[in-house]
Every structure is written in structure tokens, then in C-alpha cells.
């Protein structure tokens, strides 16, 4: 399919430019007539967004989400590539599960799917999984996300073995013995009589991971940073040359633990929403590039798993369809991040970390393109989501940055009906 994209503001710049797409790649011109000419009328055009951390729930939990609904939801949020974590059933800890995910995504999906393999067999934290064989089928990183690589001995081996295959290691940082709680430990958890998870649970593990990476001279990636202390530790480590990268999620720079008041289970996640000081520190971390990536941690759950007593409800929220708009509204519009730095967090840096060769609109690059309306506000309505799940705390938010068009590998995967 040949597409002629007209009148786009590339990277939100001021000049109107055209983009040509042929054979799934960005082209300097088309070899003949375009199959479709799309006039985006001055909307902002970016390299397709890449989510380095999400949960598609497929295989095993298709009642929450599957590869089709998940990638449709991703495409609606402007994502052209997504990286699902391995906590499926069966666990994505071997080549055949990776192969089946990749194959289903290729035939039925609406985005490139680059799976993340389990760091340990069965996510059990005991033995290394088969990184080499999984990489041949398409994994781009390893992680035991949902749980930390708890034992320092295993972490050492994971980092060493992953380096043989040049595979990034993404660790969910949390000391499990401190994490027996339902929300952040603080004034609000005390007021609500809920068990708290202290920020120290996250900070201690981040600090251990940094020290291990430093000792081995190997890279490590810290998942979903939510604390002021975590940002400080990573900043200091980067300054002395440790090969550490980090991600955060929109909810950590938009919301605080106060969202839990009234026992709203859509504010329940892990790591938990923290305090205003933490939220501001996350924004600082994004500003000074301590934090490299913004990921969604898209975590769809069935209503039956969320409409429950607070402590019994599952952790997590969906994120694909709000991530760009939340970042644009809460980071770019107030002037914390330039549009360019924001897109670096959502496309360029994830591509770099995972070696995807994307995150660019250069001629010859895969035609992964996202087009957003940056001018008109919209009211986010959870019932318009393409995800199967509805667990979002952002229903009713007025946001900027609605997706107009998403093109993944030269194929239109989402198009707003005007």
C-alpha cells in the first residue's frame, strides 16, 4: 500500500510537510499513484510511539485482554510497537511461547509486538530462562516484571548471561518483604487503615541493582520508577558512569496517593501512587533525563477483579489510550519537557534501549507513524476505549493530544473517524 500523508507538522514543528510510505517504509517519493492520500490538516506527526512495558494478557488471560484488543488499544493511543511482559499463562519463558505471541501478533495484531522474555524460568526467581533461544524468536529484553529478581545471586547471573546475548535486563524493583501492602505507606494509608508499601521497598532494590550493575560493568534497566529516592539514586549512578536506564509511567507524574481516598481501586497499582514530592521528583527526573523512558505498564483487569474491597482488588491500570495525552497535557504543555524530549521518552529511547531500529521518520525507516491533534482538548471517556478493560482512573479528564492516525509498518492501524 502506498500512502501519501499530506500537511503534517513533523515533530510538531511549524512547517507543513508531506510523508510518503511505500512497502512498509518511509520513502522519499512514491513509485506511482498513492493508494491513499490523507490530509492531516496540520496535525502533529511523530515517529510511532513504542511502549517498552505493557501487559497484553495473551496467552492465558484473554478475558482481560488479548493480542488483538490490546494492540487495537495501543494503536488508538498512537503506539506502533508494544513490548508485553512475560507474566502470561503459560509464562513467556521459552521459545515456543515467544513464537506463538509473535505469530499471533503478525497475523491478527494492530501493532508490532516485541515480547519481553522471563528472566527466570516460570518467573520463579530460581533458574535462568533460555535467553538465546527466546531471542531467536523475537524477545527484545528479559524481566520477571510483577516481581523483582529478588536474589542478588540470581540478578548477578541474569546480568552476566543476558550480556552474552546483548539483551537488556528490566527489573521490577521492590523488596518483597517490605511490599506487603495495598498502597503507599504514608499519611493516607494510615488514615484509611490500609497496609502500606514504603518507598524504601523500591529505593533499596534500585540501589542494590545499581551497585550490581556497577560491580559488573553491565547495563541494567529500572522499571516503573515511582519514588523521589529512586530518581536520586539513578541520577547519582548515571553521574558516576553506571550503565543504568530507567522508566516511569504517566500515573506517577499525574497522580498521587490521594487518588486512593474513597478506596478507589482504579488508584491501586504496584508500585503504588506516591506523594506529591515523589510526583514532582519524577518530573524533575524526566526533565534532566535521569528517567529515559515513559512506559504505560498497561495492565488490563476484568471488572470482577477491580470492583472489590480495596486490598483484594488487583493492581494496575490500563494505559495505552491515555499515555500520550497525559504526557502531552502534564509534561509538555506546562513546559516541563520539550515536545522533542517527550517523544524521545516515548519512541526514540525505547527503540534505542531495545535495539528496535525505530523511533525515526528517516527515509528507509519502517513506516511507524503517529499523528496527534495537539490543539483541541478532548474529554477522555473510558467507554470509548478499544481495550477490553475499563480500569482507568482518568475517566472524565480533559486532555490534549488525541490520536488522529496511527500507521504501523505502513499499514493504517487506527484512524479517527472525523
Amino acid at each position: 500500500m502506498k500512502i501519501h500523508l499530506k500537511n503534517g507538522k513533523i515533530m510538531g514543528g511549524n512547517t507543513l510537510l508531506d510523508i510518503f510510505i511505500e512497502d512498509g517504509k518511509i520513502a522519499a517519493s512514491l513509485s506511482g499513484d498513492a493508494d491513499r492520500v490523507i490530509d492531516v490538516q496540520g496535525a502533529a506527526v511523530f515517529p510511532g510511539l513504542i511502549d517498552a512495558h505493557c501487559h497484553l494478557r495473551d496467552p492465558g488471560f484473554e478475558y482481560r485482554e488479548d493480542i488483538v484488543s490490546g494492540t487495537k488499544s495501543a494503536a488508538k493511543g498512537g503506539f506502533t510497537s508494544v513490548c508485553p511482559m512475560p507474566n502470561t499463562r503459560p509464562v513467556c519463558d521459552n521459545a515456543s511461547v515467544v513464537r506463538s505471541i509473535v505469530a499471533k501478533a503478525k497475523s491478527e495484531g494492530y501493532a508490532n509486538v516485541f515480547p519481553i522474555g522471563a528472566a527466570s524460568k516460570g518467573l520463579a526467581g530460581k533458574e535462568l530462562a533460555e535467553y538465546g533461544l527466546m531471542k531467536e524468536e523475537g524477545i527484545v529484553a528479559v524481566s520477571d516484571d510483577g516481581r523483582p529478581i529478588g536474589s542478588a545471586d540470581l540478578l548477578m547471573k541474569v546480568l552476566q548471561y543476558a550480556s552474552d546475548f546483548s539483551i537488556p535486563v528490566m527489573n521490577h524493583c521492590e523488596v518483597e518483604s517490605l511490599a506487603d501492602g495495598a498502597m503507599n505507606e504514608g499519611d493516607i494509608s494510615t488514615q484509611l487503615g490500609l497496609r502500606g508499601i514504603p518507598t524504601a521497598a523500591e529505593d533499596i532494590m534500585i540501589s542494590r541493582d545499581i551497585l550490581m550493575a556497577e560491580y559488573l560493568h553491565l547495563p541494567i534497566h529500572i522499571c516503573h520508577v515511582s519514588t523521589q529516592g529512586g530518581v536520586r539514586l539513578i541520577r547519582e549512578a548515571k553521574a558516576r558512569g553506571v550503565r543504568v536506564t530507567a522508566e516511569t509511567c504517566p500515573h506517577y507524574f499525574v497522580l498521587t496517593e490521594e487518588a486512593c481516598l474513597g478506596f478507589d481501586t482504579n488508584a491501586k497499582m504496584n508500585p503504588p501512587l506516591r506523594t506529591e514530592e515523589d510526583r514532582l521528583a519524577i518530573i524533575e527526573g524526566l526533565k534532566d533525563k535521569t528517567i529515559d523512558l515513559i512506559v504505560t505498564d498497561h495492565a488490563p483487569h476484568h471488572a470482577d477483579e477491580k470492583v472489590l474491597e480495596f486490598a483484594l482488588a488487583n493492581n494496575g491500570i490500563v494505559g495505552f489510550e491515555t499515555a500520550f495525552a497525559l504526557g502531552y497535557t502534564y509534561l509538555v504543555r506546562p513546559g516541563f519537557l520539550s515536545l522533542e524530549d517527550f517523544i524521545a521518552c516515548m519512541s526514540v529511547n525505547p527503540s534505542k534501549l531495545l535495539g528496535l531500529g525505530r523511533g525515526t521518520l528517516a527515509i528507509g525507516a519502517p513506516a511507524d507513524i503517529s499523528v496527534f491533534d495537539l490543539e483541541q482538548p478532548f474529554v477522555f471517556d473510558k467507554d470509548t476505549m478499544l481495550s477490553k478493560a475499563r480500569n482507568t482512573p482518568f475517566h472524565g479528564y480533559t486532555l490534549y493530544g488525541e490520536t488522529n492516525l496511527t500507521i504501523s509498518g505502513g499499514r493504517i492501524t487506527y484512524e479517527k473517524l472525523c
Binding site: T190, L192, P198, L308
Partner: protein, 309 residues
Amino acid sequence: MKLRNKDLLGMKELQADEIEEILKTAEMMKMVMKSGNKKTSHLQGKSVVTLFYENSTRTRLSFEMASKFMGAASANISTSGSSVNKGESLLDTARTIDVMSTDIIVMRHNQSGAPHFIAPHMNASVVNAGDGMNEHPTQALLDMYTMKEKYGSLDGLEVAICGDLYHSRVARSNAIGLSKMGAKVRVAGPATMIPHGFGKMGCTVCSSIAEAVEGADVVMGLRLQLERQSKSLFPSVPEYARYYSIDQKTLLLAKPDALVMHPGPCNHGVEMPTVVYDSPQSVINEQVTNGVAVRMAVLYLLMARRNQE
């Protein structure tokens, strides 16, 4: 005056004038209770169901007696013997009760926020009879009633609350409620049992039981909640009793006629020795009596609000 909300979920949700109104109404209810004919028609033709997911003697019985004294049709469900044992969810169970034309559901649950979770789904008014570690508002109300009965006013009263603050919904409700009424609350317990930011609920956190008790008008012990100790918060019951109980010597630090209170049930010799529990200063049994009057008042006021709608 009318209560502002359909439900009574906690002291956090009540304002000072509503607390005042409940305590005033309880005075009348106590007179009814003490009269020879313990019968009113305030709840005649109405129904009250108590739904208890946790054990209870005082709270459940006092709600049942309160409903019966006021002529309501009352019933109770506990988890054993109900479909909860077949795995029915809280929401489905509560809805089942609600659609039987129930006016008030009194609920106790081991999860903080459980009544807040079901209340918006119910036509019935929901009364929180204790939710996890969050609140136990009718206990705080009866405690406040008992203090007010003795001192006339709560304003400026110095109240020491001692013990297992971490697990205590009674401490939270009392700290929040008493500070709304102008009392000065001081709390103390093992450092492992003082949750982060407890003082922000309107009280002063003290470093020892003695410091909290000194000069107090009211000394309240909290039950050591042995069934909720999932983590090791103290080494042993004897050590706890040695350093954190309200014994006779500690009590001497309080004002001479200070009230001794306990929400019950008491672990004798742990939170306080029997000699303190049974001392002339102890109003622990009066607390139980007042519990019925306060719960009559709560049911009455919630029903009055329903009748006006």
C-alpha cells in the same frame, strides 16, 4: 438536624454538628433503655440487617438490641452459615440483603473500605460496624458519649489512647472524632505499632505510655489484636505487657479521677491488669451500656433521614 449522608461510614465522614446530634439523641435513647418499658416505635415497620464478616459480641448484640427496642424487624447474617462460605462476593451478598427491602445494613468486615465499597450500590443505608484497620465509628461515638456523660463536654478533654495503634480502627475513629470535638488526644504504643503520620489525624504521638497518660482525663487501652499480627511487631506478650500496659503505677500519672476505658474484649494482664480493668475509675461496662443507646441514636437518625426523602 438531619444527617448529611445516607450512610454512616466513619468519623472522617461526620462533621462536628452531626456528632453532637448523635450524642444528644443518645441521651434520650438511654432514658428509654433505663425506663421499665424498653420500647419505642421509631423503627416500626422498618428492617435492619446486621452482616458480620468478623466475630463480635458487643457491637452485633447492641445493634440487634437497639433495633429491637425501637421496633424494627431485624435479622443477622454471619459468614458461617451463609452463602459467603460458598464464595459469594461481598457485593452480591450485600445486594441480596438490599433487595429484600432492607432499610439499614450494619456491616462489619475485615477489609478496610468494605462498607465504602458497597454503600454506593445500596438503596439501604450502610452503617460501618468496623472495617479492617480503618474505622469503627459507633465505637468512637459511644466512647465520646461516655466521656461526655462524665465530663459534660469533650472540648479540651485530654485523652490518652494506648497500645496497638497499627491495627486499631477504634484508635483511628476516636482520634479523628475526638479532635473534631475539641478534645486533645495523645497516643502511645510500641514504635512498630505506630503507623506513619498517625499524628496527622489530629493527635499527638508520645514516646511512651507514661508520657501519654500523664495528666490525662481519660486513659483508653486498645486490645492487642493477636488475630491480625501478620508481621512480628513485638517479641512476646509478656514483654508487651511489661512495657506497654496501663498498670496501676502508670494510671497514677493521670488525673486522680481519670476514666479508664477499653473497647473490649480485653486481654487481661496485657493491655491492663484486672485490678485496673475492675477499678472504680473503670467505665468499661458503662461503655457497653452506652453502646446500645448510641446505636439506637444512629439507627434513629439514619431512618429519620430516609423517611424525609
